[in-house]
Amino acid sequence: MKKGLIIIGMLLLSMGVIAQGTVITKYFNLLEENEDYTKVSVSQKMFSMFTELEAGSDAEKEFLEAISKLKGLKVIMADSIGDAEKMYKTAIADVDKAGYEELMSIKDAEENLKFSIIEKDGIIEELIMVAGGNKGFVMLSLYGEIDLSNISKIAQELRVEGLENLGKMRDNHDHDKDTY
């Protein structure tokens, strides 16, 4: 009986660990050999390099602090694919199915964007963005300890294609505040 409880406990614990980054990892594996998609993975090791940099200004200091709490970044992107809309819909369904909580979505004639998060004890552990247009597709996952107020700074400074969309989330968040 005791053994059974321990096994169940361990399974639950491992499920919590697996939950982070599962969707993007699935797409990384799925599109591994597909040359239409660019796959980028930045590990915590790389982010830890940033902590050695000397901050020249307060803004840089804030950016370096935000970066030091990240554990990784994964991006999948494609500029010109025929099934971008289908990819977007499938990816969104997978994100929802995996239990991510929707944070914000934007829909317009050119592009659809959806931001979802995994939050635990008030801390955002993963932010996933899925974007799909007529021909383009982006899936981006940022994981670690994420502070939403620093998202646009990270997006600005890292200059990774697709990451600029994170800035939209902050802009929209500010706009919502103004409205109410």
């Binding site: 040359e35 239409d36 998609y37 660019t38 796959k39 090791k45 940099l53 500029d79």
Partner: protein, 174 residues
Amino acid sequence: MTKTLISIIFLMGLMQPLFSQEQPLKDYAEDRRERKFCLYPSTLRMINIKQNEDYNQMVSGIEKLLIYKLDSTARADKSYKEVISTYQELGFEEYIAMYGGGNTMYLYGNENNKTSEFIGVFKQAESEMALAFYLRGNIGWAKIPDLIQSFEADDMLNLFDFKTENFGNDPHNK
């Protein structure tokens, strides 16, 4: 007997970081190279024509840098993935991986208190160039932002022009 065996294994484990791990890259790239560059502290400073101080500080901890310009076969068959796997097995950790869509970049590292080692592969679709490198020593990461600010195109000697008519020419007057 068991005690002796354990002691030997323990000693081997201790000694492992003392040996550099450039051999797997050498084994792979020697037969697949168009060119090979081997740079040491003095040569790393020598290519810094304008003696940019930020660059000198950034490379001051580097003991050795091996760069292989890979041939067209290696670029096409992506065999460099094998060497990346070998280094993963040796305990090198991923820093950055980018692949698909034409451009490729892998950076793996093994850092310990004594010496850090890095290996990487860069492939650019436009220029049809693929480079594999091994670096031993410490990079002055903190100097990179200053270097980006102060660096100008003609500050450095372009090694890849070596033995071509452009070698040593001012890039602005090409």
